[in-house]
Structure formats: structure tokens, C-alpha cells
Symmetry: C2
Subunit: 442 residues, 2 copies
């Protein structure tokens, strides 16, 4: 065969990068579990009618067919790859509601797929790490305030730049637009969502074509400019002179989220009233997240409250969730060489092999070290010791073990410092920081 | 929408089962890393021409198309979901050979997909955990002996019944058949592979239709009956009176694998000369694995040596690998309720909420416990304490924390024993065995 080439939009990390990804996922998972979120994995596929039910992502779905399938049969039960983890989760909750305890807190760390045209920073396959809380019939609002704190803790556990969670509430926008007398608040919201792409002048023109007066356009744009680190956004909204019950409800909710964050994690959150989120299923709080120094690349962690995503007959499970775009975040950081790992393999010790006849003896050394959780490999072949040391060096493995000849004691060499000491495989251990590879930010 | 129903062949675990799966995967991964295997993940998709290149699995592939794709364009760059992790790994090695260090040891724990008709114990989506070692041009044989020892350690780290790895070598079979004068050893091997399904009489008939004499059929069936825990299979083969160079080479290799296992892990391995493995790419050692008490369900862990899977132009990367069928193994064990977890959530402590006004105080208790790695939730609402205790009970959470009223000290209750003691959130910790849920075999 000819030498294969990468597929655009399907990132693959080299082992050292995969070690970083695994370390990052492990820390995120550990934080989620500290807050009592239970793990869940759903299948990669959903029936197409489920995937096309909500949102504007229908065009991005990958449809599956079995190679030997009769094309005439295909429509009946067509399956597609999931494009997020929220829609499959909502389906899972409905399907298993009798077996779950509510409120149900779960996390889910899985690949998702979008069949879109690849472009910078857009992947067709990527890893997401989601938390959601759902409850039967109604879900207390305080979860909207708790979730960003969990995410804040997760980010603080990582060697990455500080993150700011931008939060808004759709009730604020919809109530404000209604209070202004605008008839189609959803359409206005979708237009405002284009602010970062096309700028306020173009957004104003589009709003005018929707029938908004100059005063309405001005008010909409001024609302979108409001951004505060505390609850002072309320005063700024009030100054715009719009009154509406839904607006007031939304402001109250948004204050609760911002106040909780300022009590427990000062500096984590900003109220930013232009945040809209594309997906149709959000009904209240919405979140986006900027990584300091990477603001222009957009949100690396988003979510919101959804009242109606999981419902069937008279069963209804409102929820709130946030999703970390793990691949997106790592892609940005790898692009800037902003994350490093101390070695490209888990191995802490290579046992040098004096001759192939001594492989059994070297295997026994390795077994003894492994029994005390020290990752160990035996050299692949009985080459000159210089070559065996280079084997370790090229992988960043810190220690080489030399079995003693003819009753001499074994020695172990730290190949970074060159220090070589006598050692007993039954008791020797490296310093704690050398046990497993360490991941660092730059 | 109507209530969703499961999709046949796409298993989904409930959170308690997913916790078990995660625990099992974590132990497997930890063993792989102790042996210096580096982590890798490849994309879920491969070009169809890659997937159809080898083996008999072509009929099982899921083909992808983008929903909005022009069907006329589809053939050019059709993608399919990978059906194993070996073919994608071989492709990855060829694609990235300039960036990898050889011999390259990697593990890979990912979902794979097969579009086959679902039947008992056959999944369309399942999790595999693979280790492979590849090297440039040639790979030392001792890795064929090392890999089953890694797998043996991984299995011993799990609370499951003992596993036996059955090992054979295709050179033994091919050499024996050639030495007997049979012209198409591959066809004979494929026929012998049906022994467990159709029995020796039927296999004999099929061999006769391939032109085998009665004496040849008899020798082939007698070879397939040989099964020994040590190297004594060599004498049994010799008694059949066949001599062939390839046979001798295969016997030497198989002895090396069996001897190494008997030195380092007595009882782990049996030489079983009927093991053939369906996949065409194996060229020497082949492995299958039986779980005690589940023998009739077939192999839960298989693999072998492949000389020619990863090659392009004059580059060649022979390898040897084994794959644990994680979903398959867990499906069997879950079916017998043979694995349990001590609770269905990570949470160790629920902080009872006396009133909604005290949520801030309860959040502070939770934060303090979490800072010492104790998984904690605050109760969802200020219900009666009896209801809050039932919230914990239903999830198997062992401790409920009660904030003291009016300057009284806090208390914590072990709801299994009923014991309630004064406690300070800054210093209290549960016993070590209650920190995280524990997984047990039955």
C-alpha cells in the first residue's frame, strides 16, 4: 500500500500528546467525581429522527449504513453518529427513567462527530467532557449556579491559562426584546448571536430588516454590550428603561449565578449579555468560556439550562449542563506548544540487557520493580550499553538499571544527572516525582 | 416524542455498571503502563480501502456519509468505522513512522463497530483494550512470550474468575500440513477453525472434499487434539511422525512462549494446537483466552503475531498484539451478576440541608470535604431529614452530614450502622475503604 496521509478534521495525537490528553481527562474526571457526578457512556449512534429533532445541526450529521445492507431498506431505521452528548443523554434518561435516581447527576467524556467542512479549529471528530443534572418535572435553580463552580475547579486543576466563564440568561434577552415590543425574540437572538462575526453595524442592519425601529436596534445593541464581573449589570439593564416580567425573572436568576460564583470562586464568572448559544434547546442560563490568551478562538466550554429536551408523553426531565471541548482546548494549547510532558512513555526504568541469556534475570528485576508500581521495561536486545542508554534517552526515561555481573550488586543510573548507585530491585524506588510522567503548562 | 427503546447490539450500561467498567479499564490501563506501553487513540474512521484490505470482516463494516453529501461524490473518499484496533494502529505506525521510537509499545482502549446481525453475545459496538509491540524490519520473538504475561497480570488485577490463555503457532499448523503433503494449508486451517462449531467428523468430511486422504485427515485431527500445560506438546507432535522445517521453527517458538509463562506465571497458559484465529493477518503465535466458568462463550481476549500488516514500499513494521474484549467480558459477567459496586455514585457524603437559606453554609462544608478528596454533594432541597437520608440510602452513599444549629457542632452519620458522631469539616475523613466505591467479584 502507499503511505497513508492524515484525514482533515480527524485529529490524532502522538503518544506524548495522548499522555497529556489522558492526564487532562483524568483531572477533569476526578473533579467531576468529587462533586458526585456518576459516569455514563452512551452508544455512539442515535436514530436519525432523534438527531434531527432539535437545533440547527442537522446538516452536520454522519449517517451510517452497513456495507452489505440493502439500500432499499435503509430509511426505516437509519442511524447517525451523535453530534453532542446532550441529545443522547436526554434520550438515555427517558429510556431509563425507571432505573435512575433523580435528581440525576452524570458526567460523560466521549467523542462526538460532525460532518461539517473542516476549517481551522473545527474538527469532525472531537472529545467532549460533559456534566449535567436533570430532575423529574422541575429542577431547582441552584444547579445553574453550581455547575460553573464545578467547571471552575476542573479548569483550576489543569496546567492551563485562567478561564473565564461568560454567563447570560435567555429570559433576560427574550424578556427585554418583548418589553421593547419586538415580536420575534428568537430571530432577534439569532441575529445578535452574529455580533462577534459581523459587528454591531451589520447586526443593526439585519434587525432593521426584521422590522426593528432605530430606537429598538439601539436598545438591543446596548443590552448586548453589557458585561460586568458582579451583579451591577442589573442597574445597567434598568437604565435602558425596559420592564417585563420574563426579563425580571431572568435578571434574578443571572444575579444568583454571578453572586454564587463571586462568593465561592471570585474572578471565575462574568455576566456578558451578548452570549446567546446557537442551539435551540436552551431556555434560561447559558454559558460560554474563554481561555486567557485564546479569546479570539471562541468558547472552549459551553452549555445552559434546557427545560424541554427530555420529555415524552407526560414525563419531563428539565436539566442544566456544561460541556468542555477537550479536543478543541488541547488543539489550541498544542498549537502554541503550551503543554509538555516529562517523558513520552510511562516507563520510569529500563533494565539493560547484558546478553540474551540473562533475559530471565532482567525480567525478574522488572517484575520486582513493577510489584511496587514502578513502570519498567527490559531492553529490546543485548546491544552495547551506550545504545541501551540512548534507547532510554530518546524516550525521556529517567533511569537505566544495570544487573551486576558475577555476584556484583546491581546499579541504577539517573541518566539526566549521570549519577549511578548500587541498588536492590526489592527495595529501590525513584523519587515520587519520577514515578509517573508529569504534565506541565508553559 | 415517544419513549425511546434500546438498539439491539449497542449495549449501554447503567451508571453503577459504568462505574464497574471504568474501574476495570483503569486497572487494565494501569497494568499496561507498568509494562511501559504508551497510550494511543486513533480516529474512529478509516478509508474504506484500508478497512477492506485484510481479513474476512469486510461484510461487517459501517460506512459513513454526510447527511448533506452529494451521493454522486461518495465513492471517492468513503470512510468506515474501524472494526478492530489493529488495522488502525498499523495505519498509524506507517503514517507516523518518522515520529515514533521503535520498538514501539502502545496500548489503545477504544470502541470498535461491526455492522453484523446482532445475536447473543455479539455486539455492534464494543470496547476493546489492546496492546501491541511493533518494530522496524523485524521484531524480536521474546515479545510473543512477554505479551501474555502482561495480559495475565491485567486479569489478575481484576475481581474476575481465573483466565487461561490458549496459545498456538500458525507455523506449527502450516508446517505440519505441508509435511503431511497437503497443498493448501490456509484452507485446511480455516476448516480446522470450525472444529468447535461442527465437530471432528464434519471437519474430516470437509478435509476429504479438499482432497485429503484418510491418513491425512486423521493426522490433522490428532494434531488439533493436542493440548498441554507445558512443553510436552512437542513429544506428542513428534509421535505423529511429520517432519518439516517450518513445523520445527513453530514448535521452537511455541515452546519459548509456554516456558516463559511457566517460569513467570504458572498456570496461565496452555498450548492448544487447534487454535487458529479467523483473521488472515496472523503469521505465527496466536492467542485466545477462556474465562473459567464461561468457556462455552468463547474467547474474551485474542491476538497474535503479524509480520506483514504494516508495510508500505520498502518500509515494514512486524508486530505482535493482544486485545481484551472488555464489553464482551463485562457483558458475560453482568449477565451472571458476577460483579458488584459498593454504591451507584462516586459520592461519599451528602450534606443535609436544614433550610434553603443555609445552602451557602452547606456548600462551604462540601467544599472543605472536597479539598481533601472526599466526594460530596449537598442535598437537592431542604426536605425533612428522613427524606434526605433516603436520598443517600437509595444511592448507597454511606455518610450524611448534619450542620449544627445555633453554634452546635456539626455531626456526621454512617447510615449503614446508624452511628452519628460530632465532626469538623476541616479535619473529618471517612475510613480509607469508603473514599471511593469499591468493585467486587461474587
Amino acid at each position: 500500500m502507499s503511505k497513508p496521509t492524515p484525514l482533515s478534521g480527524f485529529p490524532e495525537w502522538l503518544p506524548a500528546q495522548r499522555m497529556i490528553e489522558q492526564n487532562v481527562v483524568e483531572r477533569i474526571r476526578s473533579t467531576f467525581e468529587l462533586y458526585g457526578f456518576a459516569p455514563l457512556e452512551t452508544r455512539a449512534v442515535e436514530p436519525m429522527d432523534q438527531l434531527l429533532r432539535k437545533g440547527e445541526t442537522s446538516k452536520e450529521v454522519y449517517v451510517l449504513r452497513r456495507l452489505q445492507e440493502d439500500p432499499a431498506n435503509q430509511k426505516d431505521d437509519a442511524l447517525g453518529l451523535h453530534f453532542d452528548l446532550t441529545v443522547p443523554f436526554a434520550r438515555f434518561v427517558l429510556e431509563n427513567s425507571g432505573k435512575l435516581q433523580f435528581p440525576f447527576r452524570r458526567y460523560q467524556i466521549q467523542k462526538v462527530w460532525r460532518g461539517e467542512r473542516p476549517q481551522e479549529g473545527r474538527y469532525r471528530e472531537f472529545l467532549q467532557a460533559d456534566i449535567d443534572v436533570v430532575d423529574r418535572d422541575s429542577l431547582p435553580f441552584h444547579y445553574d449556579a453550581e455547575l460553573p463552580l464545578v467547571i471552575g475547579d476542573a479548569f483550576r486543576s489543569l496546567p492551563i491559562p485562567p478561564a473565564t466563564i461568560l454567563v447570560n440568561n435567555r429570559k433576560v434577552c427574550e424578556g427585554f426584546y418583548r418589553g421593547l415590543g419586538l415580536e420575534d425574540p428568537d430571530e432577534v437572538l439569532r441575529t445578535v448571536d452574529k455580533l462577534d462575526k459581523i459587528g454591531p453595524a451589520k447586526v443593526g442592519e439585519l434587525l432593521a430588516t426584521l422590522g426593528a425601529s432605530a430606537a429598538q436596534v439601539d436598545a438591543v445593541l446596548r443590552l448586548a454590550q453589557i458585561s460586568t464581573a458582579d451583579a451591577s449589570f442589573v442597574d445597567e439593564v434598568r437604565k435602558l428603561g425596559v420592564d417585563n416580567d420574563l426579563l425580571n425573572e431572568g435578571l434574578g436568576e443571572l444575579v444568583a449565578v454571578v453572586d454564587a460564583a463571586n462568593e465561592h470562586a471570585p474572578g471565575l464568572i462574568r455576566a456578558e449579555l451578548k452570549i446567546a448559544r446557537g442551539l435551540d434547546y436552551y431556555t434560561g442560563t447559558v454559558y460560554e468560556t474563554q481561555l486567557q490568551g485564546y479569546e479570539r478562538h471562541g468558547s472552549i466550554c459551553s452549555g445552559g439550562r434546557y427545560e424541554n429536551l427530555a420529555s415524552s408523553g407526560n414525563e419531563r426531565f428539565p436539566g442544566v449542563g456544561i460541556s468542555i471541548g477537550v479536543s478543541r482546548m488541547l488543539g489550541l494549547l498544542f498549537g502554541q506548544s503550551a503543554l509538555t510532558v516529562s517523558r513520552s512513555v510511562p516507563t520510569a526504568v529500563v533494565v539493560a540487557l547484558p546478553s540474551e541469556e540473562l533475559r530471565g534475570r532482567c525480567d525478574a528485576v522488572a517484575r520486582s520493580l513493577r510489584s511496587r508500581r514502578i513502570s519498567t521495561e527490559v531492553a529490546p536486545s543485548a546491544a552495547k550499553f551506550g545504545k541501551q542508554i540512548r534507547f532510554a534517552e530518546r524516550r525521556g526515561i529517567p533511569y537505566v538499571w544495570f544487573p551486576g555481573a558475577d555476584g556484583e550488586p546491581d546499579t541504577v543510573k539517573d541518566i539526566r544527572s549521570g549519577e549511578q548507585v548500587e541498588a536492590d530491585a526489592a527495595t529501590w524506588a525513584p523519587p515520587a516525582e519520577d514515578f509517573v510522567p508529569s504534565v506541565q503548562g508553559v
